[in-house]
Amino acid sequence: MKTIRLSIAGFGAVGQGVAHAVLLKNDYLNKQGLDLRVVGIADSKGCEIDPSGIDLEEALMRKEQEGTVARGNGTAQEMIRDLDHEIFVDLTPTNIENGEPGLSNMFSAFESGRHVVTSNKGPLALRFTDLKEASEDNGLFFRYEATVGGAVPIFNLVHEALGGNTVVGIEGILNGTCNYILTRMEDERLPYEHVLKEAQELGIAEADPTYDVEGIDSACKLVIIANSIFGMKAIYRDVNVTGIKKITPEALELADKNNYVVKLICEAVNGRLTVAPRLVPKRHPLAVGGTLNVASILTDLAGRITISGKGAGSIETASSVLSDILYVARNL
């Protein structure tokens, strides 16, 4: 049995989802010869450390009852540096202004010899190349499947399953909130403002929906795709971004009459990065509705490969995080 020790920073929806997934898959992991032990968890109030493995059920209960897992005053940085473990999992909230605290966490992890798995897109949208270099310089894995498309395994698909293919272009819907709003506007012929309020009440849109509806979130994900898949060294400013706020129900009706739907599409084609509303033929595989995410990858050998699935959600995102953890664990 191979013992792999993890530390987790950030114990919100995704962090708790990962804890649930590890608990749920304990037998499966053991059958694979893996003993995954979470030895440290840090949230915004402090840390819990247990070198022999934290009782995750108890930690989840404490988080629910007390609002924190913290039992000590230690910081995430101290946990990363001083606690012996193999994989650091950064699940802290996305901050696209300066990438913190995830950015510092990840650099510290690489300096301390920890492999990194993350769902936090902020640091990657801002400093992908630096992070990648830091991992390579230290001979460490850097896995970030959950940063783009939630449960949809875009990077694993391209880097592993489609190995040897040259990717000609990628188009996708990478923001479930926008997809929900456009789908509802089209189905119900409702104006944008009305559907946005509905989405906010359902918890699909944030109180401040700017990042989603202006295409900023989509653009950050496209930057990660551009860097990871096309090796572009792109930053947010390289993306031409148009959001969905100006879209009218009448435009969706005209599109519908002509067998199109309107979707907020992220595209990386010919070195150009664009996030913009696009006409998608109704029968095209990109025409998925609701909060679904989708990515359509055009390659030289395999042709077009399209995958869609849930782009958000606690356990769905944890699926991608767990898959990355297992990739690292199996390769150690």
């Binding site: 000609v168 272009g169 188009e171 148009t242 100006k246 879209i247 009218t248 009448e250 435009a251 009706e253 005209l254 599109a255 009459k257 002509n258 067998n259 199109y260 309107v262 599409i265 595209e267 084609v269 913009a276 509303p277 696009r278 006409l279 998608v280 033929p281 029968r283 095209h284 990109l286 359509s296 055009l298 042709g303 077009r304």
Partner: protein
């Protein structure tokens, strides 16, 4: 309010495609037209018009039917094979002058920013034309939405026409919604 100019050509759903005018000869018995049109639709062709020339019955007793449709380049030979295999005689195949087509949606104060001028900018190129327009105006102060089909003599000219449209739309503060780029396989 919806209005659409009374033109024969209906909107196309292709980028990287071609517009084909084909004359088919059908036997004068029921069910022949469906037999002829099904393969076009199966190959994702977009049928724009169908005209029966009943008064031009051939010496063979068949009726010429002229079908105009948009279809992806590269599948035309297979389509002809399929049609002939199903017993439809393909008498003539011609490619139209305006071979490439794109559909776009505009949103904003389209009428007040002079829709005629916007169309003229495309039509005056000599290589591209706006061939269909549907306009929806919900209220005086509210933004309008329009669906346009632009045809051009070739792909390069179509790209130029779209550049012109983007430029005009930018100056008039109109949002242009274009089709996805990788719509055609391998393009």
């Amino acid at each position: 309010m919806f209005c659409s100019p009374n033109k024969l050509i209906t909107p196309l759903c292709i980028v990287g495609g071609m517009i084909v005018s084909m004359t088919l000869e059908l036997k004068d018995i029921p069910g022949q037209l469906v037999l002829a049109l099904a393969p076009i639709s199966e190959m994702h062709g977009n049928i724009m018009s169908v005209v029966h020339h009943r008064d031009e019955r051939t010496p063979r007793g068949t009726i010429p039917v002229q079908v105009m449709f948009g279809i992806e380049q590269g599948v035309l030979d297979e389509l002809i094979e399929r049609l002939e295999a199903s017993g439809v005689r393909v008498a003539r195949v011609g490619e139209e002058r305006l071979r490439a087509a794109v559909s776009v949606i505009l949103i904003g104060h389209i009428v007040h920013s002079d829709i005629g001028d916007t169309i003229d900018k495309i039509d005056s190129t000599g290589f591209a034309e706006v061939v269909d327009l549907s306009l929806s105006m919900p209220g005086i102060e509210q933004p309008s939405s329009a669906y346009l089909v632009i045809n051009a003599v070739g792909e390069k000219e179509l790209t130029n026409a779209l550049d012109i449209l983007r430029d005009v739309a930018h100056k008039k503060d109109l949002l242009v919604i274009e089709p996805i780029r990788l719509n055609s396989e391998g393009k």
